[in-house]
């Protein structure tokens, strides 16, 4: 593949990943959020595979396969189960309304473009062009975590943050050793399970997974 094509594809891939993240800000339903996360993971896996194809590095292929398996299939199934368990609680009243959230998301992407500009200019890799978008996704998922109320949405925000970091690594350094990657996966799985337990607990206690309820713990 020609470097131009690769840089185009990496921009395209990371755009898809980012759009899936922004979809979190747009849609309200939990199911839609899970769908967005699944799509994002698949797009991420595809991008990784593309880079792997370009570099001819088998480890990246493996990472892509793992991504597809764990984040594209495994975690979504668990999430679906949680969603079914809690009924589909919608993000009816986020702290920031939808239109504003979207605009903030756009500004965050521009900000990411600014902060990564120098990084991109020094890097020589053809995949560097996607990095600002990956950084944008980092910001966006942080924004999702702080601006949404439902614990489930926040879990998704965390998972997207992890996706963003993985994308950044793949694009910026053409992938990290698979051992590290596996370790990260384990962390994520662990963190995910812990959070799952928390969410269950919150639901047990308050009959809702609206973290606003946690304020009641004070008195």
């Amino acid at each position: 593949m020609s470097p131009e094509l690769v840089s185009q594809l990496s921009v395209g891939g990371s755009t898809l990943v980012l759009l899936a993240g922004l979809a979190m800000l747009w849609r309200r339903g939990v199911r839609a959020h899970i769908g967005a996360f699944t799509a994002q993971s698949v797009a991420l896996a595809a991008t990784t595979a593309m880079v792997g194809w370009f570099t001819g590095d088998w480890q990246l292929w493996a990472v892509a396969a793992l991504l597809l398996l764990i984040k594209g299939v495994g975690i979504p199934i668990l999430l679906e189960r949680m969603a079914r368990r809690f009924g589909t609680e919608r993000e009816l009243e986020p702290y920031v309304n939808t239109a504003t959230s979207l605009l903030v998301g756009g500004l965050l992407v521009l900000l990411a473009y600014l902060v990564t500009a120098r990084l991109v200019s020094v890097s020589q890799l053809p995949t560097r062009t996607g990095m600002p978008l990956a950084m944008g996704l980092v910001f966006v998922s942080l924004f999702v975590i702080i601006s949404r109320k439902k614990a489930l949405t926040q879990v998704l925000g965390f998972l997207m943050l992890e996706n963003a970091v993985a994308l950044l690594a793949v694009l910026g350094t053409h992938g990290i050793p698979i051992i590290v990657e596996i370790g990260v996966f384990l962390d994520v799985a662990l963190g995910f399970i812990v959070m799952q337990v928390f969410v269950y607990q919150i639901h047990e206690t308050f009959e809702s997974i609206d973290v606003e309820q946690l304020n009641r713990l004070r008195e």
Binding site: V11, T15, W26, A99, Y113
Partner: protein, 313 residues
Amino acid sequence: MSPWLLGPVQAALALLLAPGLVGAIRWMKARLQNRSGAPPWQPYLELRKLFAKEVVVSNNASWLFRAAPFIVFGSTVAVTLLVPLLAVPLPFEGAGDLLVVVYLLLLGTFFLALAGLDPGSPFGGMGASREMTVAALAEPTMALAIFALAWSAGSTNLGHIAARMLATPTEGLAPGHVLAFAAIFVVTLAETGRLPVDNPATHLELTMIHEAMVLEYSGRYLALIEWAAALKLLVFFTLLGNLFAPWGIAAALTPGALLWAVLTLALKLLALGGVVALVETHIAKLRLFRVPELLSASFILALLAVTASFLLR
């Protein structure tokens, strides 16, 4: 054929095709609703009937109410002289670029909204207010999408953009273009009063946007406005089809090339119409105050399009 003749030919062709496009979309929607539906040429019959009918005008309406249909119709027809319908280089290349197209369409909207206010009917005012709101909120998306297009093409002239796309087809798959296409598609839905922004088949005054403004019109005036609306849809589809995928557009004004151009244009219009029909079958109308969310989503698409073209420069 001289290039100056091409302009009128384009306008005539657009006027000819526009009602058929609307009819085709209605027919496809009917089929998707498991009905046999009206034949695609139904709109022509309706226009013929309306031109033959009597005109009833409100006693509160002024001369503006009678002038507006001609201005709305005229401004939309003028646009068809500028867009690359059949061939590049365009007949009136120097006369106007993409921004001029946007402003000419705004001219039509402006006068239609005034005509909605003129009879003093509450529905007309409601329609005018909503139409202008949607139009205003759609502007930024359009501007940024134009920005992304123009930057990669090195010009805002429609002919340049199409020609550039023909010269380097890979550009068409660049993320910037795909995103800009998506953004302009959403704007098309909003500006031409399709679902999920406005329901073209609604009978409920309180949910209307476009219909509410034309409730007062009858006879030939209504015919002009409906025709202009169809024409506007065709213009947006042509922009989508011939700026992003200008294949089949004639490079030389030979009869064969032009014929092929007409054929491909019709195919593109049908394809886009099919997509719209599918969309309208699948999704419901948004509440008016959810529309800004849709438009800000399209704005994000346009913003990403520009960012992508930054990254790849």
